[in-house]
Amino acid sequence: MAGTILEIKNLHASVGGKEILRGVDLVVGAGQVHAIMGPNGSGKSTLAHVLAGRPGYDVTAGSVLYQGKDLLAMKPEERAREGVFLAFQYPVEIPGVSNVYFLKNAVNAIRKHRGLPELDAMDFLKLSKEKARLVEIGEDLLKRPVNEGFSGGEKKRNEIYQMAVLEPTLAILDETDSGLDIDALRIVASGVNALRAPERSMIVVTHYQRLLNYIVPDYLHVLVDGRIALSGGKELALTLEEKGYTWLEKEPPAPRVEAAAR
């Protein structure tokens, strides 16, 4: 398919010997925003981490093509350099490493991979300041060690700030809304919306429909028990909100829109 960024076929994955993903199929086109919802333990976060290449998340069957390349054959850092970005549900605290130092090295690792000249401290500072405004992240936060002592909201804003600086082709947001109050959610969502672009695709993983009021997806998929049980447009979110996930377990799943499209 022309303009396809990501093509997941029959993806099975296990964590610690336990099968979590049991045959996920998903196609994401350029510039599209896909939301993935599902109950606890359905495999949403596992899917996000498998796509980013987390060690210990073993793919047992299936394939993932990213821009026509075998994503699963790439190391995590290669995926990042090729433009895959995961916003963590629980961003990791790294004492002793300042946010700016870390991100400048990340930017330059990616630029080097793409044959671009590395940014010097001044250039990076300029870029960093511009992107920090997007999520209203203060300069003091950028100088502090990565995520150390950040509030929940600051951590999530920091993830979106990193995404803004790294300018990914495929951004995967793993429960970026969880634990946020409404003001923080608005800031994060507006940051994400500002980064929507025809050349950038997004997979937004969320437990709650609330986020989708702010980040309106093009497609919505419901993951149940390691498979996509239902796909549809954004209006599906409202049905889910009304009926809850248990509704899916009682009624036979509707045809998969994305699978049918292929």
């Binding site: 987390r54 995961l86 790294i94 002793g96 490493v97 870390f102």
Partner: protein
């Protein structure tokens, strides 16, 4: 036992014989050296049955036929900074006598006893009463290459006068690839109300042996800060003994030891709270790679009557390989009842999730590992108040951790 006695006799007897012929020495000094020799002969070299040496075998030291280094490899600032007087011990015996061997006990430590018997013409560093010395006093112990394995007995006495403020830096280097043994003692008297910072950076050649006792005694309301950085030597052992002998004394003990290959690094610390209202903060971190072995043994002692003592002791170790090993024994011995003391020890590997987080942003695996290791060390490196010493430690860490161009 046989072999040990033999080594003692062959290696150290000529030195002992020289004590008696050193006619120029005053009687008290000859007597002191004699008691050092007697104590050493009574103790013998420690074995792994000796409690304080349980994890460190000194056989690699006792098996070598050492000859005494011909020259003392000690450099000092000349002229001394304003407010500081630096003299050879032999030129300053009258001023050294009230302190010499009275701070570093050789009762239970064979190496300190050996140094006391045989120490070279070391240095007396005096910081004048009330002197505020901004410039660090930098001493370099540089063991040069020799044809035979050589042993040195450096001795340093620092006397910080009442209300003075100064920083002493000891850098231990050694090159040449031939075994060298430094059996060293540093004694520090911190006068009432004095603020003294002591920095030790040990980056000797990996064929070297390094045994060093640092002993400090603190007066009333004084402040002593120790930075003990151990990077080099095949076998390195540092004993830090701090006595908070005056009321309201404060002590900060920072330690970083980095060992790889088959290096062995042992740190023994004792913080002795003898008087009320003392404060001590101790943080030692170890980074072990390859087949290296590290030891941290720390005791915080609170004597009866040292009420209102506030002491925290922490040891954190990072193991970078499956074969690296660390033995951590933090201990509190509290004999007073109105005190605030805590201690803790953790040993672990690099956090796999942190590694993944860094890699997911595009950093290579080596670079991510180096970054996390440097970050672990940086808490202690950043505390070193002397730029040159800090830079030397940074450079040594960079050399060991490829993948990083600058400090995080």
């Amino acid at each position: 036992m046989e072999a040990q006695t033999l080594a003692v006799e062959t290696a150290f007897a000529p030195g002992f014989a020289a004590i008696e012929t050193a006619a120029a020495s005053p009687r008290w000094l000859t007597a002191l050296r004699e008691s050092g020799r007697e104590r050493f002969e009574a103790l013998g070299f420690p074995t792994t049955k000796t409690e304080a040496w349980r994890f460190t075998s000194v056989r690699p030291i006792t098996e070598v036929a050492w000859t005494r280094a011909a020259r003392e490899a000690l450099r000092r600032p000349d002229p001394a900074p304003r407010g500081v007087r630096i003299r050879r011990l032999s030129e300053a015996l009258a001023d050294a006598e009230p302190h010499l061997a009275r701070i570093a006990s050789f009762e239970d430590n064979a190496f300190t006893a050996l140094n006391t018997a045989l120490f070279e013409d070391g240095l007396l560093v005096e910081i004048g009463r009330g002197a505020v010395v901004a410039e660090p006093i930098e001493l370099v112990f540089d063991a040069a290459s020799a044809a035979h394995p050589e042993v040195s007995y450096p001795r340093l006495l620092v006397v910080a006068g009442e209300g003075s403020q100064a920083t002493v830096v000891e850098t231990w280097t050694g090159r040449g690839g031939r075994p060298h043994l430094n059996c060293a003692v540093t004694e520090i008297s911190v006068g009432d109300g004095a603020v003294l910072t002591h920095v030790k950076v040990q980056r000797e050649d990996e064929s070297a042996f390094h045994v060093h006792a640092i002993a400090a005694r603190q007066g009333r309301a004084s402040r002593f800060t120790s930075h003990n950085i151990s990077l080099g030597a095949a076998l390195a052992r540092t004993d830090l003994d701090v006595a908070l002998a005056g009321e309201g004394a404060e002590c900060e003990a920072n330690g970083l030891f980095v060992a790889g290959g088959s290096q062995h690094c042992d740190n023994h610390t004792t913080i002795d709270h003898a008087r009320p209202h003392g404060v001590s903060r101790e943080l030692y971190k170890g980074i072990l790679d390859g087949k290296a072995r590290g030891v941290f043994h720390g005791t915080v002692l609170v004597r009866p009557g040292a009420q209102k003592t506030d002491a925290i002791q922490t040891n954190k170790n990072l193991l970078l390989s499956r074969e690296a090993l660390v033995d951590s024994t933090p201990a509190l011995r509290i004999e007073a009842d109105d005190v605030k003391c805590k201690h803790g020890s953790t040993t672990g590997q690099l956090d796999p999730l942190a590694l993944f987080y860094l890699r997911s942003r595009g950093l290579g695996e080596d670079e991510a590992r180096a970054l996390l290791v440097r970050a672990f060390a940086s808490e202690l490196v950043s505390r070193i108040p002397v730029a040159a010493a800090r830079d030397a430690v940074e450079a040594a860490l960079s050399a060991r951790l490829p993948g990083l161009s600058e400090a995080p």
